[in-house]
Amino acid sequence: MADPKPYQVAARLRAAATRARTLTGELQRGSWSGGHGDDSTIANLTRAAVLLDDAAKALDGDALPGRQFVIGSAVSTGLFAGGIAAVLATVPDPGRPWVVVCAVVAGWVAADIFGRWHDAARARRSTAAPDAPPDGSTDERVGRIRAEVAELLPAVRHKDAAEFVRVALIWL
Protein backbone atom coordinates (compact mmCIF):
# COMPACT_ATOMS: atom_id res chain seq x y z
CA MET A 1 0.00 0.00 0.00
CA ALA A 2 1.32 3.49 -0.89
CA ASP A 3 2.50 5.75 1.89
CA PRO A 4 -0.14 8.26 2.96
CA LYS A 5 0.37 11.80 1.69
CA PRO A 6 1.63 14.44 4.18
CA TYR A 7 -1.77 16.15 4.23
CA GLN A 8 -3.44 12.84 5.12
CA VAL A 9 -0.98 12.23 7.96
CA ALA A 10 -1.48 15.82 9.13
CA ALA A 11 -5.26 15.35 9.16
CA ARG A 12 -4.95 12.21 11.28
CA LEU A 13 -2.51 13.94 13.65
CA ARG A 14 -4.99 16.81 14.03
CA ALA A 15 -7.79 14.32 14.68
CA ALA A 16 -5.66 12.68 17.40
CA ALA A 17 -4.98 16.13 18.93
CA THR A 18 -8.71 16.85 18.94
CA ARG A 19 -9.44 13.55 20.69
CA ALA A 20 -6.75 14.37 23.27
CA ARG A 21 -8.32 17.80 23.86
CA THR A 22 -11.81 16.31 24.15
CA LEU A 23 -10.59 13.85 26.76
CA THR A 24 -8.76 16.68 28.57
CA GLY A 25 -11.99 18.70 28.71
CA GLU A 26 -13.92 15.74 30.13
CA LEU A 27 -11.28 15.07 32.79
CA GLN A 28 -11.09 18.75 33.67
CA ARG A 29 -14.85 19.06 34.05
CA GLY A 30 -14.89 15.85 36.09
CA SER A 31 -12.31 17.27 38.47
CA TRP A 32 -14.37 20.46 38.90
CA SER A 33 -17.42 18.38 39.79
CA GLY A 34 -15.48 16.66 42.54
CA GLY A 35 -14.75 13.56 40.49
CA HIS A 36 -11.37 11.94 40.08
CA GLY A 37 -9.25 14.32 38.05
CA ASP A 38 -5.72 13.21 37.33
CA ASP A 39 -3.74 16.43 36.92
CA SER A 40 -0.76 14.70 35.34
CA THR A 41 -2.97 13.05 32.71
CA ILE A 42 -4.65 16.40 31.96
CA ALA A 43 -1.30 18.19 31.66
CA ASN A 44 0.28 15.44 29.56
CA LEU A 45 -2.68 15.24 27.17
CA THR A 46 -2.57 19.03 26.74
CA ARG A 47 1.16 18.95 25.97
CA ALA A 48 0.67 16.06 23.55
CA ALA A 49 -2.20 17.84 21.76
CA VAL A 50 -0.07 20.98 21.26
CA LEU A 51 2.81 18.89 19.89
CA LEU A 52 0.54 16.92 17.53
CA ASP A 53 -0.87 20.17 16.17
CA ASP A 54 2.69 21.50 15.76
CA ALA A 55 3.62 18.31 13.87
CA ALA A 56 0.59 18.64 11.60
CA LYS A 57 1.48 22.28 10.94
CA ALA A 58 5.07 21.37 10.09
CA LEU A 59 3.78 18.72 7.65
CA ASP A 60 0.96 20.60 6.00
CA GLY A 61 0.91 24.24 7.11
CA ASP A 62 -2.00 25.80 8.95
CA ALA A 63 -5.23 23.83 9.13
CA LEU A 64 -7.84 24.85 6.59
CA PRO A 65 -11.01 26.32 8.07
CA GLY A 66 -13.76 23.80 8.70
CA ARG A 67 -16.67 23.23 6.33
CA GLN A 68 -19.16 24.85 8.71
CA PHE A 69 -16.98 27.97 8.90
CA VAL A 70 -16.65 28.20 5.10
CA ILE A 71 -20.41 27.75 4.59
CA GLY A 72 -21.14 30.33 7.32
CA SER A 73 -18.74 32.85 5.75
CA ALA A 74 -20.20 32.30 2.28
CA VAL A 75 -23.79 32.77 3.48
CA SER A 76 -22.79 35.84 5.50
CA THR A 77 -21.05 37.42 2.49
CA GLY A 78 -24.01 36.55 0.28
CA LEU A 79 -26.43 38.21 2.69
CA PHE A 80 -24.22 41.30 2.84
CA ALA A 81 -24.12 41.59 -0.94
CA GLY A 82 -27.84 40.73 -1.21
CA GLY A 83 -28.77 43.40 1.35
CA ILE A 84 -26.83 46.03 -0.59
CA ALA A 85 -28.35 44.96 -3.91
CA ALA A 86 -31.88 44.92 -2.48
CA VAL A 87 -31.66 48.50 -1.24
CA LEU A 88 -29.97 49.81 -4.38
CA ALA A 89 -32.54 48.11 -6.58
CA THR A 90 -35.47 49.74 -4.81
CA VAL A 91 -34.16 53.32 -4.73
CA PRO A 92 -34.54 55.60 -7.80
CA ASP A 93 -31.11 57.28 -7.62
CA PRO A 94 -28.79 54.74 -5.94
CA GLY A 95 -25.62 56.78 -6.59
CA ARG A 96 -26.25 59.24 -3.77
CA PRO A 97 -23.75 58.72 -0.91
CA TRP A 98 -26.37 58.33 1.82
CA VAL A 99 -28.18 55.70 -0.25
CA VAL A 100 -24.92 53.78 -0.60
CA VAL A 101 -24.45 54.05 3.17
CA CYS A 102 -28.01 52.82 3.81
CA ALA A 103 -27.44 49.90 1.44
CA VAL A 104 -24.20 48.93 3.12
CA VAL A 105 -25.79 49.22 6.57
CA ALA A 106 -28.70 47.02 5.45
CA GLY A 107 -26.26 44.42 4.16
CA TRP A 108 -24.21 44.61 7.35
CA VAL A 109 -27.31 44.16 9.53
CA ALA A 110 -28.47 41.15 7.49
CA ALA A 111 -25.04 39.53 7.73
CA ASP A 112 -24.83 40.32 11.46
CA ILE A 113 -28.22 38.75 12.22
CA PHE A 114 -27.19 35.60 10.39
CA GLY A 115 -23.80 35.62 12.17
CA ARG A 116 -25.49 35.76 15.59
CA TRP A 117 -27.84 32.91 14.72
CA HIS A 118 -24.96 30.86 13.31
CA ASP A 119 -22.78 31.46 16.41
CA ALA A 120 -25.61 30.50 18.73
CA ALA A 121 -26.26 27.30 16.76
CA ARG A 122 -22.55 26.44 16.81
CA ALA A 123 -22.39 27.07 20.57
CA ARG A 124 -25.42 24.82 21.12
CA ARG A 125 -23.77 22.07 19.08
CA SER A 126 -20.43 22.40 20.83
CA THR A 127 -21.97 22.11 24.31
CA ALA A 128 -24.52 19.42 23.50
CA ALA A 129 -24.10 16.01 25.11
CA PRO A 130 -22.28 13.53 22.87
CA ASP A 131 -24.45 11.10 20.91
CA ALA A 132 -22.65 8.10 22.33
CA PRO A 133 -21.04 7.83 25.76
CA PRO A 134 -17.21 7.71 25.81
CA ASP A 135 -15.94 4.28 24.91
CA GLY A 136 -13.69 2.87 27.65
CA SER A 137 -11.75 4.17 30.63
CA THR A 138 -9.37 7.13 30.54
CA ASP A 139 -6.36 4.84 30.30
CA GLU A 140 -7.89 2.93 27.42
CA ARG A 141 -8.73 6.10 25.53
CA VAL A 142 -5.24 7.53 26.07
CA GLY A 143 -3.88 4.16 24.95
CA ARG A 144 -5.89 4.32 21.73
CA ILE A 145 -4.63 7.84 20.97
CA ARG A 146 -1.07 6.71 21.69
CA ALA A 147 -1.46 3.65 19.44
CA GLU A 148 -2.77 5.71 16.55
CA VAL A 149 -0.01 8.30 16.87
CA ALA A 150 2.64 5.57 17.12
CA GLU A 151 1.23 3.98 13.98
CA LEU A 152 1.53 7.33 12.16
CA LEU A 153 5.12 7.99 13.22
CA PRO A 154 6.81 5.94 10.43
CA ALA A 155 4.80 7.90 7.84
CA VAL A 156 6.06 11.25 9.15
CA ARG A 157 9.05 12.02 6.93
CA HIS A 158 9.52 15.65 7.96
CA LYS A 159 12.34 15.81 10.53
CA ASP A 160 10.82 18.45 12.85
CA ALA A 161 7.35 16.93 12.61
CA ALA A 162 8.74 13.50 13.48
CA GLU A 163 10.46 14.98 16.53
CA PHE A 164 7.19 16.63 17.65
CA VAL A 165 5.39 13.29 17.29
CA ARG A 166 8.10 11.41 19.21
CA VAL A 167 7.90 13.89 22.12
CA ALA A 168 4.09 13.74 22.03
CA LEU A 169 4.33 9.96 22.38
CA ILE A 170 6.49 10.41 25.47
CA TRP A 171 3.84 12.63 27.06
CA LEU A 172 1.10 10.18 26.08
Binding site: W32, I42, R47, P97, V105, W108, A120
Partner: protein, 331 residues
Amino acid sequence: MVVELGPYPLCGRCQETNGGLVATRHRQVHLRVADQEACVDQGLVDVVAAVWTVASTRSCCQDDDGRAYVVPTADTVDAAEAALRGLGLDVERTDGGVLRFALPPPPPAEPLGHVPVDRGDFLDVLEAARRLVDGAAEQLSTHTAGIGHPRMSEARGQVAAAQSWLTAGMLRRVSIFRMSRGTLRPLGVLFQLALLSAGCWVGAALARLVSDGSTAWSLVGGIAGLVAVMWPVVRLTNLADDRTSRRRAARILRAYDAGAFVPPALPGVLVAADRRLDDVRTTIDAARTILGVVALRLPPQAFEVRALTEADLALCQASDAIRIWLEAPRG
Protein backbone atom coordinates in the same frame (compact mmCIF):
# COMPACT_ATOMS: atom_id res chain seq x y z
CA MET B 1 38.79 9.71 38.45
CA VAL B 2 35.07 9.70 39.19
CA VAL B 3 34.02 11.09 42.58
CA GLU B 4 30.58 10.32 43.99
CA LEU B 5 29.86 12.03 47.29
CA GLY B 6 26.20 11.05 47.39
CA PRO B 7 23.19 9.89 45.39
CA TYR B 8 22.34 13.17 43.65
CA PRO B 9 23.90 13.61 40.17
CA LEU B 10 25.21 16.86 38.72
CA CYS B 11 23.93 17.87 35.30
CA GLY B 12 25.83 16.52 32.28
CA ARG B 13 27.73 19.73 31.64
CA CYS B 14 28.83 20.16 35.26
CA GLN B 15 29.93 16.50 35.39
CA GLU B 16 32.36 17.27 32.56
CA THR B 17 33.76 20.43 34.15
CA ASN B 18 33.88 19.58 37.87
CA GLY B 19 37.10 17.58 37.91
CA GLY B 20 35.50 14.16 38.18
CA LEU B 21 32.79 14.99 40.71
CA VAL B 22 29.58 13.47 39.33
CA ALA B 23 27.22 13.20 42.33
CA THR B 24 26.76 14.91 45.69
CA ARG B 25 24.94 14.51 49.03
CA HIS B 26 22.22 17.05 48.22
CA ARG B 27 19.94 17.45 45.21
CA GLN B 28 21.51 19.76 42.64
CA VAL B 29 19.91 22.63 40.74
CA HIS B 30 21.70 24.06 37.72
CA LEU B 31 21.80 27.80 38.26
CA ARG B 32 22.82 30.54 35.86
CA VAL B 33 23.18 34.13 37.12
CA ALA B 34 25.09 36.85 35.27
CA ASP B 35 28.19 35.14 33.80
CA GLN B 36 28.29 32.28 36.28
CA GLU B 37 26.62 28.92 36.09
CA ALA B 38 26.94 25.68 38.00
CA CYS B 39 25.00 23.02 39.86
CA VAL B 40 24.38 24.06 43.47
CA ASP B 41 22.59 22.44 46.42
CA GLN B 42 18.85 23.09 46.14
CA GLY B 43 18.75 24.52 49.68
CA LEU B 44 21.14 27.29 48.63
CA VAL B 45 19.71 28.23 45.24
CA ASP B 46 18.53 31.73 46.15
CA VAL B 47 21.42 32.37 48.54
CA VAL B 48 23.99 31.56 45.84
CA ALA B 49 21.99 33.53 43.26
CA ALA B 50 22.23 36.57 45.57
CA VAL B 51 25.95 36.05 46.16
CA TRP B 52 26.70 35.64 42.45
CA THR B 53 25.40 39.12 41.74
CA VAL B 54 28.44 40.54 43.60
CA ALA B 55 30.94 37.71 43.98
CA SER B 56 32.20 34.44 42.53
CA THR B 57 32.20 31.14 44.38
CA ARG B 58 34.22 27.95 44.13
CA SER B 59 32.07 25.67 46.25
CA CYS B 60 29.08 25.52 48.56
CA CYS B 61 27.09 23.08 50.70
CA GLN B 62 23.68 23.40 52.33
CA ASP B 63 24.37 21.07 55.27
CA ASP B 64 27.87 20.44 56.60
CA ASP B 65 27.49 19.32 60.23
CA GLY B 66 24.27 21.30 60.52
CA ARG B 67 25.57 24.49 58.92
CA ALA B 68 25.81 25.73 55.35
CA TYR B 69 28.91 27.18 53.75
CA VAL B 70 29.97 29.10 50.67
CA VAL B 71 33.55 29.34 49.43
CA PRO B 72 34.00 32.58 47.48
CA THR B 73 37.08 33.37 45.40
CA ALA B 74 39.76 35.22 47.37
CA ASP B 75 39.17 38.55 45.64
CA THR B 76 35.40 38.54 46.24
CA VAL B 77 35.16 37.13 49.75
CA ASP B 78 34.33 40.53 51.31
CA ALA B 79 31.55 41.19 48.84
CA ALA B 80 30.16 37.68 49.35
CA GLU B 81 30.17 38.10 53.13
CA ALA B 82 28.35 41.45 52.81
CA ALA B 83 25.74 39.86 50.53
CA LEU B 84 25.11 37.02 52.99
CA ARG B 85 24.82 39.45 55.90
CA GLY B 86 22.41 41.46 53.75
CA LEU B 87 20.14 38.39 53.69
CA GLY B 88 20.06 38.48 57.50
CA LEU B 89 22.47 35.58 58.01
CA ASP B 90 24.95 35.35 60.88
CA VAL B 91 28.15 34.61 58.95
CA GLU B 92 31.35 33.15 60.37
CA ARG B 93 34.47 33.63 58.22
CA THR B 94 37.21 31.03 58.66
CA ASP B 95 40.90 31.54 58.01
CA GLY B 96 40.64 29.82 54.63
CA GLY B 97 37.99 32.31 53.48
CA VAL B 98 35.08 29.92 53.92
CA LEU B 99 31.82 31.62 54.90
CA ARG B 100 29.80 29.42 57.26
CA PHE B 101 26.27 30.19 58.38
CA ALA B 102 23.14 28.51 59.72
CA LEU B 103 20.03 28.55 57.55
CA PRO B 104 16.89 29.38 59.55
CA PRO B 105 14.49 26.48 60.14
CA PRO B 106 11.70 26.40 57.55
CA PRO B 107 8.55 28.17 58.75
CA PRO B 108 5.67 25.88 59.69
CA ALA B 109 3.29 25.18 56.84
CA GLU B 110 0.28 27.46 57.17
CA PRO B 111 -3.11 26.58 55.75
CA LEU B 112 -4.31 28.79 52.93
CA GLY B 113 -6.66 31.59 53.78
CA HIS B 114 -10.36 30.97 53.36
CA VAL B 115 -11.17 31.15 49.68
CA PRO B 116 -14.36 33.19 49.33
CA VAL B 117 -16.06 31.26 46.55
CA ASP B 118 -19.47 31.60 48.20
CA ARG B 119 -19.61 35.35 48.12
CA GLY B 120 -21.39 35.33 44.86
CA ASP B 121 -20.05 37.91 42.49
CA PHE B 122 -18.01 36.54 39.63
CA LEU B 123 -15.64 39.47 39.57
CA ASP B 124 -14.85 39.35 43.30
CA VAL B 125 -14.17 35.65 43.25
CA LEU B 126 -12.11 35.80 40.09
CA GLU B 127 -10.12 38.67 41.54
CA ALA B 128 -9.29 36.48 44.54
CA ALA B 129 -8.11 33.73 42.16
CA ARG B 130 -6.16 36.25 40.09
CA ARG B 131 -4.38 37.56 43.18
CA LEU B 132 -3.41 34.02 44.14
CA VAL B 133 -2.05 33.41 40.65
CA ASP B 134 -0.25 36.78 40.65
CA GLY B 135 1.37 35.81 43.96
CA ALA B 136 2.39 32.42 42.58
CA ALA B 137 3.80 34.07 39.43
CA GLU B 138 5.84 36.51 41.51
CA GLN B 139 7.18 33.76 43.76
CA LEU B 140 7.96 31.57 40.79
CA SER B 141 9.80 34.33 38.99
CA THR B 142 11.71 35.37 42.13
CA HIS B 143 12.63 31.91 43.36
CA THR B 144 13.47 30.30 40.05
CA ALA B 145 15.65 33.14 38.77
CA GLY B 146 18.66 31.54 37.13
CA ILE B 147 17.02 28.12 36.77
CA GLY B 148 16.73 27.48 33.05
CA HIS B 149 15.32 23.94 33.28
CA PRO B 150 12.67 23.39 30.54
CA ARG B 151 10.01 22.44 33.11
CA MET B 152 10.66 25.65 35.07
CA SER B 153 10.38 27.69 31.87
CA GLU B 154 7.14 25.86 31.12
CA ALA B 155 5.78 26.59 34.61
CA ARG B 156 6.59 30.30 34.33
CA GLY B 157 5.08 30.51 30.84
CA GLN B 158 1.90 28.68 31.81
CA VAL B 159 1.31 30.82 34.90
CA ALA B 160 1.70 33.92 32.71
CA ALA B 161 -0.81 32.41 30.25
CA ALA B 162 -3.25 31.79 33.11
CA GLN B 163 -2.92 35.43 34.18
CA SER B 164 -3.78 36.57 30.65
CA TRP B 165 -6.84 34.30 30.44
CA LEU B 166 -8.13 35.38 33.85
CA THR B 167 -7.80 39.03 32.86
CA ALA B 168 -9.58 38.34 29.56
CA GLY B 169 -12.42 36.59 31.41
CA MET B 170 -12.83 39.47 33.84
CA LEU B 171 -12.84 42.07 31.08
CA ARG B 172 -15.41 40.21 28.99
CA ARG B 173 -17.65 39.90 32.04
CA VAL B 174 -17.90 43.70 32.40
CA SER B 175 -17.66 44.64 28.73
CA ILE B 176 -20.20 47.15 27.48
CA PHE B 177 -19.25 46.46 23.86
CA ARG B 178 -19.48 42.69 23.67
CA MET B 179 -21.72 40.01 25.07
CA SER B 180 -20.36 36.94 26.75
CA ARG B 181 -20.08 34.93 23.52
CA GLY B 182 -18.26 37.76 21.78
CA THR B 183 -21.09 39.16 19.68
CA LEU B 184 -21.50 42.92 19.83
CA ARG B 185 -23.89 44.58 22.28
CA PRO B 186 -26.12 47.42 20.96
CA LEU B 187 -23.50 49.99 21.96
CA GLY B 188 -20.83 48.06 20.05
CA VAL B 189 -23.12 47.78 17.02
CA LEU B 190 -23.80 51.53 17.07
CA PHE B 191 -20.10 52.32 17.53
CA GLN B 192 -19.04 50.15 14.60
CA LEU B 193 -21.93 51.15 12.34
CA ALA B 194 -21.29 54.86 12.88
CA LEU B 195 -17.62 54.54 11.94
CA LEU B 196 -18.24 52.15 9.04
CA SER B 197 -20.99 54.39 7.68
CA ALA B 198 -18.72 57.42 7.90
CA GLY B 199 -16.01 55.61 5.92
CA CYS B 200 -18.53 54.39 3.39
CA TRP B 201 -20.09 57.84 2.98
CA VAL B 202 -16.72 59.54 2.47
CA GLY B 203 -15.75 56.94 -0.15
CA ALA B 204 -19.07 57.23 -2.01
CA ALA B 205 -19.07 61.05 -1.92
CA LEU B 206 -15.50 61.28 -3.21
CA ALA B 207 -16.17 58.77 -5.98
CA ARG B 208 -19.38 60.57 -6.98
CA LEU B 209 -17.50 63.87 -7.09
CA VAL B 210 -14.63 62.49 -9.16
CA SER B 211 -16.83 60.46 -11.52
CA ASP B 212 -19.25 63.28 -12.11
CA GLY B 213 -22.23 61.57 -10.49
CA SER B 214 -21.75 58.03 -11.74
CA THR B 215 -23.90 55.57 -9.75
CA ALA B 216 -21.56 52.63 -10.36
CA TRP B 217 -18.49 54.57 -9.24
CA SER B 218 -20.33 55.90 -6.18
CA LEU B 219 -21.09 52.33 -5.21
CA VAL B 220 -17.48 51.23 -5.83
CA GLY B 221 -16.22 54.22 -3.81
CA GLY B 222 -18.63 53.44 -0.96
CA ILE B 223 -17.54 49.80 -0.78
CA ALA B 224 -13.87 50.85 -1.02
CA GLY B 225 -14.37 53.35 1.82
CA LEU B 226 -16.04 50.64 3.89
CA VAL B 227 -13.24 48.13 3.27
CA ALA B 228 -10.59 50.77 4.01
CA VAL B 229 -11.98 51.54 7.46
CA MET B 230 -13.05 48.01 8.38
CA TRP B 231 -9.76 46.85 9.94
CA PRO B 232 -9.10 50.14 11.82
CA VAL B 233 -12.70 50.08 13.10
CA VAL B 234 -12.32 46.55 14.47
CA ARG B 235 -9.03 47.54 16.13
CA LEU B 236 -10.62 50.69 17.53
CA THR B 237 -13.58 48.71 18.88
CA ASN B 238 -11.24 46.26 20.61
CA LEU B 239 -9.18 49.10 22.05
CA ALA B 240 -12.24 50.98 23.32
CA ASP B 241 -13.64 47.73 24.70
CA ASP B 242 -10.39 46.97 26.55
CA ARG B 243 -10.06 50.47 28.02
CA THR B 244 -13.67 50.79 29.18
CA SER B 245 -13.74 47.24 30.56
CA ARG B 246 -10.55 47.77 32.56
CA ARG B 247 -11.93 51.00 34.04
CA ARG B 248 -15.22 49.34 34.81
CA ALA B 249 -13.62 46.30 36.43
CA ALA B 250 -11.37 48.54 38.55
CA ARG B 251 -14.38 50.60 39.68
CA ILE B 252 -16.38 47.51 40.64
CA LEU B 253 -13.42 45.99 42.47
CA ARG B 254 -12.77 49.20 44.40
CA ALA B 255 -16.20 48.79 45.94
CA TYR B 256 -15.30 45.22 46.92
CA ASP B 257 -13.54 44.88 50.24
CA ALA B 258 -10.08 43.95 49.03
CA GLY B 259 -8.87 43.38 52.60
CA ALA B 260 -11.33 40.55 53.13
CA PHE B 261 -9.14 38.07 51.29
CA VAL B 262 -5.41 38.13 51.82
CA PRO B 263 -3.38 35.68 49.76
CA PRO B 264 -1.14 33.54 51.95
CA ALA B 265 2.41 34.74 52.49
CA LEU B 266 4.91 32.48 50.80
CA PRO B 267 8.34 31.70 52.26
CA GLY B 268 11.41 33.84 51.60
CA VAL B 269 14.74 33.24 49.92
CA LEU B 270 16.36 31.36 52.80
CA VAL B 271 14.00 28.43 52.45
CA ALA B 272 15.03 25.53 50.19
CA ALA B 273 13.83 25.61 46.60
CA ASP B 274 11.75 22.43 46.91
CA ARG B 275 9.82 23.77 49.90
CA ARG B 276 9.14 27.11 48.21
CA LEU B 277 7.98 25.49 45.00
CA ASP B 278 5.76 23.10 46.95
CA ASP B 279 4.08 26.19 48.39
CA VAL B 280 3.73 27.73 44.93
CA ARG B 281 2.00 24.51 43.81
CA THR B 282 -0.35 24.66 46.78
CA THR B 283 -1.25 28.23 45.86
CA ILE B 284 -1.80 27.28 42.22
CA ASP B 285 -4.02 24.37 43.25
CA ALA B 286 -6.06 26.70 45.50
CA ALA B 287 -6.60 29.07 42.58
CA ARG B 288 -7.70 26.11 40.42
CA THR B 289 -10.27 25.12 43.03
CA ILE B 290 -11.81 28.59 42.80
CA LEU B 291 -11.81 28.50 39.00
CA GLY B 292 -13.59 25.13 38.95
CA VAL B 293 -16.33 26.27 41.33
CA VAL B 294 -16.93 29.47 39.34
CA ALA B 295 -16.85 27.75 35.92
CA LEU B 296 -19.56 25.29 36.93
CA ARG B 297 -21.90 28.16 37.81
CA LEU B 298 -21.75 29.78 34.36
CA PRO B 299 -23.55 28.74 31.17
CA PRO B 300 -21.17 26.49 29.21
CA GLN B 301 -21.28 28.67 26.06
CA ALA B 302 -20.01 31.77 27.89
CA PHE B 303 -16.59 33.13 26.94
CA GLU B 304 -15.81 33.36 30.65
CA VAL B 305 -16.02 29.56 30.89
CA ARG B 306 -13.52 29.26 28.07
CA ALA B 307 -11.22 31.78 29.80
CA LEU B 308 -11.50 29.90 33.10
CA THR B 309 -10.97 26.55 31.36
CA GLU B 310 -7.85 27.77 29.59
CA ALA B 311 -6.53 29.40 32.78
CA ASP B 312 -7.18 26.18 34.69
CA LEU B 313 -5.41 24.10 32.03
CA ALA B 314 -2.42 26.46 32.08
CA LEU B 315 -2.25 26.28 35.87
CA CYS B 316 -2.60 22.50 35.76
CA GLN B 317 0.37 22.34 33.40
CA ALA B 318 2.38 24.77 35.55
CA SER B 319 1.69 22.72 38.69
CA ASP B 320 2.57 19.49 36.90
CA ALA B 321 5.76 21.01 35.48
CA ILE B 322 6.86 22.01 39.00
CA ARG B 323 6.03 18.50 40.26
CA ILE B 324 8.14 16.93 37.49
CA TRP B 325 11.02 19.28 38.32
CA LEU B 326 10.77 18.48 42.02
CA GLU B 327 10.71 14.74 41.40
CA ALA B 328 13.60 14.79 38.92
CA PRO B 329 16.89 13.52 40.35
CA ARG B 330 18.50 16.87 39.52
CA GLY B 331 17.12 20.31 38.83
